[in-house]
Structure formats: C-alpha cells, structure tokens
C-alpha cells in the first residue's frame, strides 16, 4: 500500500463508507488485527493511515449445511444445548435459537482453528489458575471430548447415545461434567469441556444474529436487550421506565440498508 497522499478527511464521508456492511474486504480483516507481522511494513507520513473503501465489518455466518460437525456431534450438541437453555414460553431453546449452527460455524472458522490460542509445546498439565493447557484447537477439543463423552455414556447407559436419554438423565450427566465427576478416557477432562461448552452456548444464544445463533434476536428480546443500537441519549435519565426501542442486530437495520 505504502504512502497515500494527504487529503482532508470528511467524517460524514467516512461514516458512509463504513456503513457499507457486507461489501468489504473481509479477508483482509485478519491481517489487520490478529497480532502482527502479516504483511510488509508500511510507512505513513503526512497521511492518515487508512485505505479507501476498506471497512473491517464482520463476516456473516455461512448459510446451508454443516461445515464442521458430523451427525453424531450434531445429535449430541442439539440435545445438550437444549438442556443448558431449554425451550419454554419465556423464550426459545438454544437449538431453536440456532446455537448448534453457531457452534458449527465457530468451530469451522478462526475460533475453532485456534487462531487466537497459543498451541505450541512443550505441553504439561498446570494448575487451574494457569488455564487452558491443551495442545488441541477448540475444534479438535470438541471432537475428542464429544467422542469421549459418548463413549462414557455408552458404557453407563447401556449402549444409548446422549441424545436418546431422558432429560433428567441428560441433566445428571451434564452436572457430572460441570463438576468433573464424569471420567473420560483421553487427555480432556469433562470439566474442561463443560467450561468451554457453557461459554460457547451463551455466546451463541446472546451474540449478534449475524453469527448464526440468537435467531431473529429472540434471546435479546427475551431478556430485554435492544441490541446493536448506537444512541440512547434520549433515555439516559428516564429512570425506572421501559425504553421503547426495537431490537436490532448488525444486519437488518432499515436505516442502514443500502438504497
């Protein structure tokens, strides 16, 4: 890229450029952000360091069929996420909200690939305060953990898969994972898996619908979070009153759609 000529920056112009969600160089996003040294050094003098037409807008989750998960994993996760957040009249269950789709797309992408994990050796078990010490990426971690869980379930539940168990039995097993009491073969503890899994389920349920979960913003509507708004100035001192704004995500705000 190198030097660009100096020019006056008009903020309205920049904002309108930035509004062009979905038309941007998403592939460039990682090189701009993931730490360092992904391209040649650039030198800027007498110019603002930005590139015309580039916005670092998020990429929407792919539609269509499963990207990473196999059918057994989909079965396990669909059953498990619906025990974490069951459907009821309050709001959608996790699978209905798209959480399994979210997990699949996340495991298929940068998160699943460990793009922001340090995974070099040597590896050894540490104390809980030292955190994640696995050599697995999150995608590998899920694959190994689910296989080990289904193996343990097969043994203790007379050959049944997790998804075919009654809800109270599923809950009991999830509680054993939460505490770490469910013993698994291999290097992953059930507690370590549950910790990552619970966090990812909450992420899928409550993140912006652009990532495949929180379908139609239903989880936000349930709790009363209005979503990706930018200006609440009007209601700052409207104490103890409902804020009458529509729930919106990053996509689908009428005002921002391109004409």
């Amino acid at each position: 890229m190198g030097k660009k000529p100096a020019r006056e920056v008009n903020r309205r112009e920049l904002l309108s450029l930035a509004a062009a969600i979905g038309t941007t160089a998403a592939a460039d996003a990682i090189s701009r952000h993931d730490g360092m040294l992904r391209g040649p050094s650039r030198t800027y003098t007498n110019a603002l360091p930005w590139d015309d037409g580039l916005t670092d807008a998020p990429e929407a989750a792919a539609s269509g069929s499963w990207r990473y998960l196999n059918s057994g994993e989909v079965g396990f996760l669909t059953a498990a996420v619906d025990r974490i957040i069951p459907p009821d009249p309050t709001g959608p269950g996790a699978s209905e909200a798209g959480v399994v789709v979210f997990l699949d797309r996340q495991l298929d992408g940068d998160y699943g690939n460990g793009a922001r994990f340090y995974l070099e050796g040597p590896w050894q078990d540490g104390s809980e305060t030292q955190g994640y010490q696995s050599r697995f990426t999150p995608a590998q971690f899920y694959r190994h953990a689910i296989a080990a869980i289904e193996k343990a379930v097969d043994r203790s539940e007379n050959g049944k898969a997790f998804k075919d168990l009654p809800a109270d039995r599923q809950d009991a097993l999830l509680k054993q994972m939460e505490s770490g009491d469910l013993k698994l073969e291999g290097p992953i503890t059930s507690k370590a898996f549950f910790t990552m899994f619970l966090q990812n389920v909450l992420e899928g349920y409550f993140s912006d619908p652009i990532y495949g979960g929180n379908k139609d913003g239903a989880a936000w509507k349930m709790i009363g979070f209005p979503g990706a708004h930018y200006d609440y100035s009007e209601w700052v001192t409207a104490y103890n009153q409902p804020v009458p704004v529509e729930t919106v995500g990053l996509l689908g705000r009428r005002a921002w759609e391109r004409g």
Binding site: A6, V9, R11, L14, L15, A18, I21, R32, H33, G35, M36, L37, R38, G39, P40, R42, T43, Y44, T45, N46, L48, P49, W50, T55, D56, P58, I84, I85, P86, T90, A115, F117, Y118, L119, P122, Q124, G126, S127, E128, T129, G131, Y132, Q133, D171, L174, V201, E203, F206, S207, F225, P226, G227, H229, Y230, D231, Y232, W235, Y239, N240, P242
Partner: protein, 588 residues
C-alpha cells in the same frame, strides 16, 4: 546482516498512548520521530465504525482488537515453586496491539493519584509504623503530585475529560471528590449525566455520609475540541466502550486526540508491521545506538536513533529490557536487581445487586459512567487496627449490559437450565455490579523475568510472570467489598452479593488490564530502573514509559498517571536532554 535504515532523532517502540504523547510533543519542537508499531494501522471509520462496533462476540470474546497470544504471550505461575506455563488464551488481562494499542478498547476512566500515593512507603510508615509495610516491597516515587500536576492537566485537556473537580487550587468544590489533590483547573467538560443505577448509588452513598461524585470520564458529556484542534463528539451511551472501539469519536483515544494531528507533521513517520526485537547498544553498553526490528518476511532492519523510547505496553517494555540485557534482572532469592521487580496488578472485586422493583436499563452506559466514592481508597481512611494498608474506590458503574458477559443471576441459582433462564430473564434489566477497584502492593515474590523453557516466535525467551495476591491486598479487598455491600443494601437491592477477590490469582478470568511495575522509577539505580524522567539509569539515551514505572499500583486506573508521566518525560527531553544529549538528567 540487518539492513540499516536512515537515522532519526527519536525512535518510539510501540504507538499507543505514551508513544503518541511523545511523538506529538517531540515533533512539535522539530525532532525527527519514527514510531515502530508491531501490528497494523487502525482508524475509527475503518475499524470500529458505529455501524458495526456494538458486537460483543467479536470484540470481547474473540479478542478482535487485543493482542493475539498465538504470536505474543507470556508464561505464568503463582509462585516460584511452580513451573510457569504459557497463557494459551487471553483471560485476566487484555493488552492491545496495533496503532492506538489498548488506548482504543479502554473504558477511558481518567484518574490522578492521591498525594500520599506518591510517597506510599514513607507515608504509611510514618502513620502506622514500619511493621505496616514490612511484608511488602513498597517504594516512594521520586517525584510528588505537585511535580506531576501540570501534566495531569495537560492530559485532561487533550482528552477533554468530563468530570466535577473536588479541589481547585486547594479550595474544596461541592459535588467533586473531596479527597483529591489540588487541581490547577476544572475538568474541560462537565460530568456525564447519571443513569438510574449510578443515581441510586449516589443517593445511597450520600445518605450514609459518604462522598459520591461523578467518575472522571474520557467518554465526553459534550462536543469538545482539544488544544491540538482534534474534535470529539458527545457520548451517545451505546454501552460499548470497554473492549470496544468508539465509532462516535466520543471516547478519548490516541486516534481521537493525537494521531491525526501527529500525522500532519513532516518530521514524523509511522511504520507499522515492524516488530522491535532488541535495543542495540555501543560495546560498553552505556549508549543505545538504535533498535533492531523485523518484518513479516523475516527481514531484520537496524534503525539507528539518537534517543530510543520504549513506549509499548508495560509487559513488552519489561520484556525488551530483559532480552536486550539492560539493567540487572531482579532475583527474588537475593532481592538483588531491579528489572522485573515489583510487578503489581489491580485487586478488583465487585458486589452484584439485583432489584425486584426497579428497572435499571443497564444497556445504557459508557465506559466511565459511574457515581463513585473515594472514602475507602488509599489512605483516605484510618487503617489503624485493620491489618492492611491501601484501599479501593467503590463505583456504582454501568458501562453497558453486554448479554454474554452480563446476564447475571443471584447466588444459589444454577448456571444453566430453566431456573437459570428464568432468573437471567427476570434480572437482565434489573441488575448492576458495584466495582471495587483496589490497590495492588508489591511483595518480594511477585516479579517478571525471562522464561527458561518457552520461546517466542522470534526465538527470544518469553516473559514469565510470577504473581499472587499479597495477604495485605486480600485483607484490603475483603474490607472494601464489605463497605460496598453496605451501600448496595442501602440502595434497596433485593439481593446483595459481595464478591471479594480471593486467591490464588487466576489468569483465566477477566479482571482488568492494569499490569504495572517491572521498570519502576526511583531515587537511585539501586532501587529502580529509571529516574523520575523515565530515563534509564544504565543507558542515558533510553527512556521507558508506561505503568511499568509504578513501584506499586494505587487504587486507581493507571492511564491518567502514565500519560502525565509521558508528558513530563517529553518536557524533560525537550527542555533539558537535547541541550546535553547522552547525559543523565539525574546524577546517580
């Protein structure tokens, strides 16, 4: 071997807050300044526009603006008897990377230290006796509040800080912090309005005889033009400051307050994707000749400079000192050495509040939107018989309500299942958390060093952190968290759950990005790495900025003080150093 680049007067290693401050100050007097930044350039309209910056998953949980541990991490252990292991995923703290550094995703909570924080050791020994500090390795700063005040004021004017002064030139001001040291001028802009939660805190604290005031904020209450002509907008309370960039030009950051100005200077250059590996010196080791940096292709460059300034994040500044072999590394077994000594953190705790009868709408927020009391901070209260020194500010703070992080439920409710779903739904708009922002005092076993096993991507030893909370700080957090719970009860919360910080220190759960110490400033080379002008005792043309300069961490967010110290450093370089280059500004 390395290709030699044209020489500059000043090379800056890292281009966040302190790099931008030095660049602005030194370019203005005509020095040629080159900033080397390891990651990419970032700007408001491209990187965190209002059209997509309210995205909790991407920024908070997927670390989009943070340092990527895949390429840059450290090892950690709680004490010297453990083997340190890599931090394989970010958790407890979230350093930045790229132009603007952590100055992009901070909350913009802008504080000054108390006068007594500058002479912490002598002050406490005088008031409570030598035994009060015996288990700690506290040190006084080599300068006073009065020395630093003009530079605190400069930073406030650069940021446009919103707040209510409590002490103007010694005259107490109603509505401000009665404990603060004298300010030479009021805040540039009035305080932010309080949302409901902070208002309830303010009323409760006042009714208890405490002294609430609006938290000083770099999220601006009104439009502002700073002395460099940089324009900022009024905050719109979107609730995405902390861990996010501000698309609205309302949050003070290097991008909003300094960088566009600096980039108009013909004597300034910014070079991105250029990672500094080492400070190079003359054979006698007493003079820095420049730095070696590397690009993505693995090509090394030697950048000569008259002055080298380490302006990276505290952890990286300490690492660069150690891998460059400058100064004596601290050894906890002998107490000898200063580089890496007195690593401190911030002792954070909270009180979760749930209101059955009040709608708080906590999604309306800003990074520093809070009513706060300083009654239990520093030495603002009598510690006689309490068994600890130090303290915390307590804030009724609502920075926003990001639902992955903040769908809180009362204690006793499971973390998942229908019961969780119902409680989370009931309380999402009816909960807040009081923030108890505690001091972190140094003890002999907490330090930074080079790891004997793990190497970074360039083959250098990783930085190794050895840290646990000192008993003094655990006693402090218990006491201050209990005081916060009393306020929570007075606020009328249905459920009040104090969460005092407990040991051992856990690197996996987010607490705060307030890592300090390791390149502390002091009175002499025997007790410190740098003098009061942030100048290395060992290499007179090397300056080190940032929170690494702190011998311990008072109960305040560090940015205000480290920015003021950077302005003071710039002033010393401009007014004194350039007249006798290469000479120490303080005689050892």
């Amino acid at each position: 071997m390395a290709r030699t680049m044209p020489k500059v007067d000043v090379v800056l290693v890292g281009f966040g807050w302190t790099g931008a401050i030095l660049a602005q100050q030194l370019c203005d007097v005509g020095l040629t300044v080159l900033a080397l930044e390891r990651a990419a350039a970032r700007t408001t309209p491209v990187d965190w526009a209002t059209t997509f910056d309210q995205d909790e998953l991407r920024y908070m949980w997927r670390h989009h603006l943070f340092q990527n541990v895949r390429y840059s991490t450290l090892t950690f252990r709680n004490n010297v008897n453990q083997t340190a292991l890599p931090m394989r995923h970010l958790g407890s703290f979230l350093p930045g990377t790229g132009v603007g550094g952590a100055g992009i995703h901070w909350n913009a909570q802008i504080w000054r230290w108390l006068e007594s924080d500058f002479k912490l050791k002598s002050h406490n020994e005088q008031r409570y006796g030598k035994q009060a500090t015996a288990a700690l390795t506290l040190q006084d700063m080599p300068l006073s509040y009065k020395d630093l005040e003009p530079y605190y004021d400069m930073f406030d004017r650069i940021c446009g800080t919103s707040g209510q002064a409590g002490n103007l030139k010694g005259a107490k001001q109603s509505g401000g912090n009665p404990f603060e040291a004298p300010r030479s001028a009021p805040y540039p802009t009035p305080p932010l309005p309080m949302t409901f939660g902070p208002k309830l805190f303010e009323q409760a604290a006042a009714s208890m005889g405490l002294h609430p005031f609006p938290h000083p904020a770099g999220n601006l209450s009104q439009a502002y033009t700073n002395p460099l002509g940089m324009q900022m907008g009024k905050c719109t309370f979107c609730g995405f400051c902390e861990k996010f960039g501000c698309g609205n030009y309302s949050k003070a950051s290097p991008q909003t307050t300094l960088i566009p100005y600096i980039l108009t200077k013909p004597n300034f250059e910014l070079r991105t994707e250029a990672e500094v590996l080492k400070v190079e010196r003359t054979p006698d080791g007493k003079h820095a000749t420049g730095v070696t940096y590397i690009d993505a292709a693995g090509t090394e460059f030697f950048q000569p400079a008259e002055i080298v300034a380490l302006t990276a994040y505290q952890l990286h500044n300490v690492h660069l000192m150690l891998v460059s072999g400058i100064g004596q590394p601290y050894d906890p077994a002998t107490g000898q050495g200063t580089v890496g000594k007195n690593y401190c953190y911030q002792t954070m705790s909270s009180v979760d509040l749930f209101f059955d009868d009040k709608l708080l709408n906590p999604f309306i927020g800003a990074g520093a939107l809070a009513s706060v009391i300083d009654d239990y901070n520093g030495d603002n209260f009598d510690h006689s018989g309490l068994g600890f020194i130090g303290g915390a500010y307590i804030a009724g703070m609502v920075t926003g309500a990001r639902p992955i992080e903040m769908t809180r439920v009362p204690d006793g409710v499971p973390k998942w299942g229908l019961e969780w779903k119902h409680a989370g739904t009931k309380y999402f708009l009816r909960n807040m958390s009081l923030s108890v922002h505690g001091s972190s005092y140094a003890q002999a076993g907490n330090y930074l060093s080079l790891d004997p096993t793990y190497k970074d991507q360039f083959g250098r030893p990783m930085l190794r952190m050895t840290f646990d909370f000192p008993p003094n700080d655990l006693a402090m957090t218990k006491y201050c968290t209990d005081r916060a719970a009393e306020i929570g009860k007075t606020m009328g919360a249905t459920h009040v759950h104090p969460k005092a910080r407990k040991g051992p220190y856990d690197i996996t759960h987010y607490q705060t990005t307030h890592n300090v110490g390791g390149t502390m400033m002091g009175e002499s080379p025997a007790d410190s790495v740098a003098n009061k002008y942030s100048q290395s005792w060992d290499v007179a043309n090397l300056f080190v900025t940032g929170a690494g300069l702190y011998p311990q961490n008072p109960g305040y967010n560090p940015t205000g003080t480290l920015a003021a110290l950077a302005f003071l450093t710039a002033d010393a370089i401009k007014s004194r150093y350039v007249k006798a280059p290469g000479a120490p500004l303080v005689t050892a």
